[in-house]
Symmetry: C2
Subunit: 437 residues, 2 copies
């Protein structure tokens, strides 16, 4: 029997779009990994009625477990603990021991903000020690404690509500601690069903082609009925995610083999790895070869490619650095691109992309150089060079080179982000093939 | 009378956290701007039952308007149109004229992907022309049409459901077109109440201090009862957003003046402008002075600061470029930082930050240089230099300079992102003061 789970994300700043919610997706992943079945995430503002209604909706939908995020702060609009108490029929009480522990946490913080009125800070945070009577306390990671709250009504055991703070860096360790330590949370997860989840990633193919592949797989007699397959486009790649019970593993293997055979060049990952991870491994030189150092020279992406290459710890082993050559002067001065070349063929061109790749390599003494130059828009299009046109080149010290152009759709931000994906795939192709042609 | 509105975001990839939802927040902002009252966003997977239940939840909560995003694609898991039809009591019918228009849209797309089987593509996309009988069609922006669907039941006029595609670049123009052209959507929005929304942004202050300010304002007799005030921490800044009806404008002005007087140095925006926009205006030299060109040399942020400075179109007027000096070799070779200095004081130091700022300025011939060097973690901490320590320096051709260190909390990604915010505030302070001291 599967455990239905729901998530309530609170916060007017999230509901109204000023802040992107990272907690709903993260909690959903965690619940899936534990074998629960997340059925919905409700995002509501800081109004207590809306929080209460969201809890009742998820309870009515059969959720045995509900996680909330946010609304545990010191301000008056932080009301989640009180609302969950009301929902479960538990009155608010001041937990004095908890208040003391929060005060201990605040002491060093207050020394960082010497102008604060200590009494005001302690009053703000006494509120955080008011909890539903009988709730399990999850110790604060920041200053806000979390809660695990079961119904007060005799005989009712579900839904169990896990109340977590809004900042992801507090929520995530607190959830991990709750899994380890909370008897009430452990009790509700005891019946969770085991699921597997596997992902195929393809690049350079439209999503509609995957729909055709699914139909072709069924026509070949592969039993897809027990596989919950979803596809989505993400940063220019198609992701095919399949969730299945262990008994369906053979069907999944047949399906994955079918996709592999039908899309041999566009399927680049069948083990969950991202192109970022593959490029990281290729540059670091894991099993596949020696360490290859890399340098970039980027124009329209303005630093995004350098930032993406250094997202992971350990990238300093192979990332030499980069040149953000937003102006033509910078292209010439930093990457050594011939000014006359730029005047002749334009800054967004095959020749300049190649010169940027070589210039980055030379300026930083790297094995691999990447050049990116394009028109991110919304202005800047010229005859024959539309917004979204990006030229990319990757060159290696040993003479190998891949250069291509793409015309990317979307907004300025989409085009800039997507261009970094194209660049990573070029690096992957260059480094994973001895003759990339 | 206010119009209650709800949003249903569909997509297992969103529910399970592989893709961040941008549509719920965006639609919520749009609804607020139109005077509607968004009460909840429900995120559900691609399972028809869950979509249907989310629609029923929002209808039961009194929503007169529901917007959905996603699930209009060509694959078999794209079911939103059918579910909304069922919810409103309207049978699915093939709209042959629409099918023809979609085929027209697909023609150039198919020429870009010459290996596709045309029959498979057309079959995939015939599905997109099956719509609830009697629904208003919103013309495709990509290949998927949207819908406005009212209840079929006689006498029922609400909820009206607006069905929009998942990709933001399709959803956003389609919504704008629906506002202009859909009689059913216009009818439900006719009763929307007028709201105002204003924002104060503060930097260098903890969120709890704002809670104390709210209490102090009330103690001074400022009537906050008609103001819906929410605060949140975002990228290291505190945002105070207030929503109010026009009759409460005086109360809001009193409140804003109170915050201004109490937090004169930390309040940096009371007109909705972001620090990015303020820095953009200061560099471009709007009313405030001449254009100031800028160049950056960044280590731990790996390109993020350059990327952030070039997010807006028009930044090429003043962004000369940047140096991603991830390795010490790059700090020396590109930014001219003395190797012996690095050995003596360490790469993460006041001196190296200052040398990076000057080196960026010199290498790119800019008026303003920014240097960022820090320990993004999780490794790399040394005695006296914890993870999160970042030194930043901003220097001007005319000799002005601001240098500071911060110790930022959070993950590697948090630290890198937050460091760019600190850098922008330093640039703002340097350029908005003749004697930053």
């Amino acid at each position: 029997m599967s455990v239905r789970a729901g998530i309530v994300v609170t916060g007017t700043e999230v509901l109204t779009g000023r802040v992107l919610d990272r907690n709903g997706p993260w909690l959903s992943e965690q619940l899936l990994a534990l074998g629960a079945d997340p059925i919905a995430t409700a995002v509501v503002g800081d109004r207590p009625d809306d929080i209460l209604r969201a809890l009742r909706f998820l309870a009515a939908e059969g959720c045995e477990l509900i996680c909330t995020s946010g609304g545990l702060g010191p301000t008056a609009d932080d009301l989640t603990a009180a609302v969950v108490g009301e929902f479960q029929g538990r009155a608010p009480v001041l937990d004095e021991a908890l208040e003391g522990r929060i005060a201990e946490i605040l002491r060093p913080l207050m020394s960082r903000w010497p102008d604060l009125d200590p009494a005001a800070v302690l009053a703000s945070n006494r509120k955080q020690a008011v909890v539903p009577e009988g709730a399990e306390i999850l110790e604060p990671v920041g200053t806000a404690p979390g809660l695990v709250v079961t119904p007060a009504a005799p005989g009712a055991s579900t839904p169990t509500v896990v109340v977590l703070p809004g900042p992801p860096r507090e929520l995530q360790p607190m959830w991990a601690a709750a899994i380890m330590n909370s008897p009430a949370l452990q009790a509700v997860l005891r019946d969770a069903r085991e699921y597997r989840r596997d992902m195929l990633r393809l690049y350079g193919i439209p999503e509609s082609e995957i729909a055709a592949t699914l139909r072709a797989a069924e026509a070949e007699g592969i039993a897809l009925g027990g596989l919950e397959i979803t596809t989505c486009l993400r940063r220019g790649e198609v992701e095919v995610v399949t969730r299945y019970e262990p008994g369906e593993a053979t069907a999944y293997e047949q399906f994955a083999a079918f996709v592999r055979a039908r899309h041999p060049t566009t399927l680049f990952s069948d083990d969950g790895s991202t192109v970022d991870e593959q490029v990281f491994a290729l540059l670091r030189g894991d099993a596949s070869g020696p360490t290859e150092t890399i340098a970039v020279a980027e124009s329209c992406t303005g630093g995004l490619l350098g930032a993406r290459l250094t997202e992971r710890p350990g990238s300093s082993q192979f990332v030499r650095g980069g040149l953000v050559v937003y102006s033509d002067e910078a292209k010439a001065a930093l990457a050594g691109v011939d000014r006359q070349l730029i005047e002749r063929v334009g800054a967004v061109s095959e020749e300049v992309a190649a010169a940027l790749a070589d210039g980055a390599r030379a300026a930083l003494g790297a094995d691999v150089g990447v050049g990116v130059t394009g028109i991110a828009g919304p202005g800047g299009a010229t005859q024959g060079k539309p917004v979204g046109l990006v030229w990319l080149s990757v060159s290696h010290r040993d003479g190998r080179r891949l250069t291509r152009s793409v015309t990317l759709p979307g907004t300025r931000a989409d085009i800039r982000d997507r261009a970094t994906t194209v660049a990573l795939h070029l690096v992957r192709r260059l480094l994973s093939s001895s003759d990339p042609g």
